[in-house]
Symmetry: C2
Subunit: 204 residues, 2 copies
DNA sequence: TGCTTTCCATACCGATCGATATAGTGAGTT
DNA sequence: AACTCACTATATCGATCGGTATGGAAAGCA
């Protein structure tokens, strides 16, 4: 079997649109509307392509969403991986909170979090999408739990805090903040929220 | 104009179903699916009535949702009003967190929060629903801010915490916890989350 | 130039969406 | 018993959903 990662010799008429650019446009629509709320009409209009082009290039709506989710994690959630490398648990939390906050400052991106938006409300048919998003989040949470377990072992956390509980707690603060961002709470207020969260962060 | 709160003399054939009972069934569907994810077919099947009966009794889907939202706030969010009357800010937080946690223990109700679910993902047509839910939540948040301002005035909070920031922070913890509940996190883990949140709660 | 291949545009598919028109039925009033 | 009115059941409305069939246009290769 030959490699089909890059077609060796592109035969036929080449694509007239930039697949990555169009995917970014689709991501914005999903981000704004959620998986089910994003109709093919709105998607294709935002992407500047027709329906047959969309299906030829991305498969169907569901696989388009998964590709958009990949792009989202890769571009917008890059700060997460970096945050886990911070030297102390407190700095991990600070980087995660500020990373999420900074993302909300963008004027070109929608508010909130694509994952949260797409994992909650869904009709009966979108259960597999919901499951996918939840599975991806689970791996992030597992990494955070491990990081805090390491912090505990390094004496970086007070003895009475449970690493797993702390990880879920921090995840809740971030997700709750993103819910509020979706609801239109201003960045200034979100910033005060983050400041409060850091103020109460447990220290030895 | 006569009072139409209660029809003085009900003429014609009386309704064969219990409007309140059917509304409770509709609430469960909205809670599980969100506003847009709940189809009329699924609603009427759960309610045990036909479409014309639904429209005659509740108006349309949107007004049915608002009535369900009323019922939800009245029945499921009753603990919120009570929590605000707790003597200290810490106890207010504790009652709110535990109230939300206890709600997730129900085996008959869906997980998560109807408000959060319905305020996030939505197509273009459900914007008015989203606005409605957000407006209702705003009044709750305002009450919480006032409560914490009172706490500050009573010397019930450390001087360095901002009441509004603390209120938004607590709201985020609760909403984030409900997001996780919707995602299937177990009550045991949610309980650890709440314990952690109470552990870090600022004390004088 | 001729051929292949994939592109784009239009129109359309069955299914489902929220919402109603129509007709028949039945309980309460007179 | 006759009448009235709102109920129920069925069938259907136009619009939109995700997804495609069809046909002409255009780029690359021989």
């Amino acid at each position: 079997m030959e490699s089909n990662v890059t077609a060796a010799v592109p035969r036929g008429r080449p694509r007239e649109f930039d697949a990555q650019e169009a995917l970014a446009a689709a991501l914005r629509v999903f981000w704004l509307r959620g998986y089910e709320g994003a109709s093919l009409t709105e998607l294709t209009e935002a992407m500047g392509i027709t329906r047959p082009s969309l299906y030829a290039c991305y498969g169907n709506k569901e696989s388009l969403f998964r590709k958009a989710l990949d792009l989202y994690e890769q571009e917008k959630l890059a700060y997460m991986g970096a945050a886990l490398n911070a030297p102390t648990a407190r700095e991990v939390a600070e980087r995660l909170l500020h990373g999420a906050l900074e993302m909300q400052r963008s004027t070109s991106d929608p508010r909130g979090c694509l994952g949260v938006i797409s994992s909650l409300a869904c009709g009966a048919e979108a259960e597999s999408i919901k499951a996918e998003v939840i599975a991806r989040r689970a791996s992030s949470e597992a990494a955070l739990i491990q990081r805090f377990e390491r912090a505990r072992d390094e004496g970086d956390l007070p003895d009475h805090v449970d690493p797993a509980g702390l990880a879920r707690y921090l995840g809740a603060v971030i997700q709750g903040m993103l819910v509020q961002a979706s609801s239109g709470v201003s960045c200034k207020d979100l910033s005060k929220l983050v400041d409060t969260a850091m103020m109460v962060w447990p220290s030895r």
